[in-house]
Symmetry: C2
Subunit: 231 residues, 2 copies
DNA sequence: GGAAACCAAATCGTCATACTTTTGCGGTGT
DNA sequence: ACACCGCAAAAGTATGACGATTTGGTTTCC
């Protein structure tokens, strides 16, 4: 799901450098300079820069060059920007922002899912909840992570709201990052697991209020844990 | 805040055509065809297409052309995509999605603002609330809309969460669209106005729960009104 | 007759180059 | 000190040439 070819390669290097703050706000790059730095032609550099411009990471102006925009203008919802920031020095801030977003969105999505989910969704949700429980009991963190991601993505998708649905990948990235960087307990808490089952049961039973409450407990717990770990 | 030059012009025509569904999913465009259609060179077409590719609206593949991606892959949080969809045939669906998003995010933002807002924020919020009241009493819809947008944007910004803050413009676009298309009462409801004052007072007083509750009443009301109007 | 291998055309991808347009900066003159 | 003017630097655009790759048909061989 990446941009292909040479512009993609330029992007993969330039994007993270900017998103992580390595190239600071206000810095000015020249197209010619980038050509040399990456050993590609003008065409390629220009296309990569155009994409960064679409994300509002940079602005290109005649006679001056390609200037890195202030962070406040960045498209912070762009999946690439989120990935780049999660991978770089901005990771703590990005995790915090996403944590709050999850607290806002996921309970609402769970409530909607309770009334909008298809029968297939409900079945899959139930089975994910039990597999989650099994993986947790066996302390199989990799399998657990996969099912956890699938669970949250499914709830978001089952909400029937396309915007919520698109946060699935982002939430997945958060969960992955949290595990990779050891920002969560090495063994999933039994209480959190039970809450997942509760969410699944409530959604299957059409109990929106209960699903919302249980999901809110999950995500606020995750946010508190995060704030604890990050100080 | 637009992309400049010829690629921008191509984008302004091609983007809405795709986002509105006028060019359907799976449709295939050829670069050369676009050159003729817009009377510009390959360079320009390619850069515009790259930006659309960055938004996941299209994918460009050798020997086949530029194919419009299924809607489920679009970056539905991209401000340009949102604007294009709001302007086109997808407006109802887009308004519904954004309505649910507001219900999820704005109460959370209000709660955060109650503890994170600066003194300047609180002052400005208060003054916006009274100006809002005045404009509503005088039935000055244009001024009211401006203050309403500023109010919600300020709450989102004062939350201290950069992702919430970036939804300010989007919410502004929703409110503008709602007014333009006469999807709201021609005169603001006094009850809704009072709730805005309540939100402002709660945030100024640091009462997070109260701010959240009042804001939730506002946005759920707006969503219900929307569902009423759209059937 | 069917399947596998092969070939050719179509289309994007990349590069090199020349020309155009904008604009910041410095110099010049009052 | 101020305003004006011109130059040069940088991005913007256009075009021609070539390379890479994928698709789809065609041929060839069991």
């Amino acid at each position: 799901m990446e941009i292909q070819g040479l512009p993609g390669r330029v992007l993969d290097e330039l994007g993270p450098a900017i998103a992580s703050g390595e190239i600071p706000e206000g810095a000015v790059l020249r197209g010619e300079e980038l050509e040399g730095r990456f050993g590609v032609s003008r065409t390629v550099v220009r296309e990569a820069v155009r994409v960064l411009e679409g994300m509002r990471l940079v602005a290109s102006r005649r006679r001056v060059g390609i200037t890195v925009q202030p962070k406040s203008l960045w498209d912070v919802f762009d999946p690439m920007v989120i990935r780049w920031r999660l991978a770089g020095a901005d990771r703590p801030a990005q995790l915090r922002s996403l944590g709050s977003l999850r607290v806002a969105v996921e309970p609402a999505a769970a409530a909607l899912a309770a009334t909008h989910a298809t029968d297939d969704d409900r079945r899959e949700l139930s089975s994910l909840a039990v597999e989650l429980t099994v993986a947790a009991r066996e302390a199989d963190l990799t399998t657990f992570l996969g099912h956890d991601i699938a669970f949250h993505a499914l709830v978001l998708r089952a909400s029937g709201n396309e915007m919520f649905a698109h946060l699935g990948d982002t939430v997945g990235a958060v969960l992955t990052g949290r595990t990779e960087y050891h920002l969560m307990p090495h063994q999933p808490e039994p209480y959190a697991i039970r809450l997942h089952r509760e969410v699944a049961d409530a959604i299957c039973g059409g109990d929106a209020a209960h699903a919302e409450r249980a999901m809110r407990t999950i995500v606020t717990g995750a946010l508190e844990e995060l704030n604890l770990q990050l100080g």
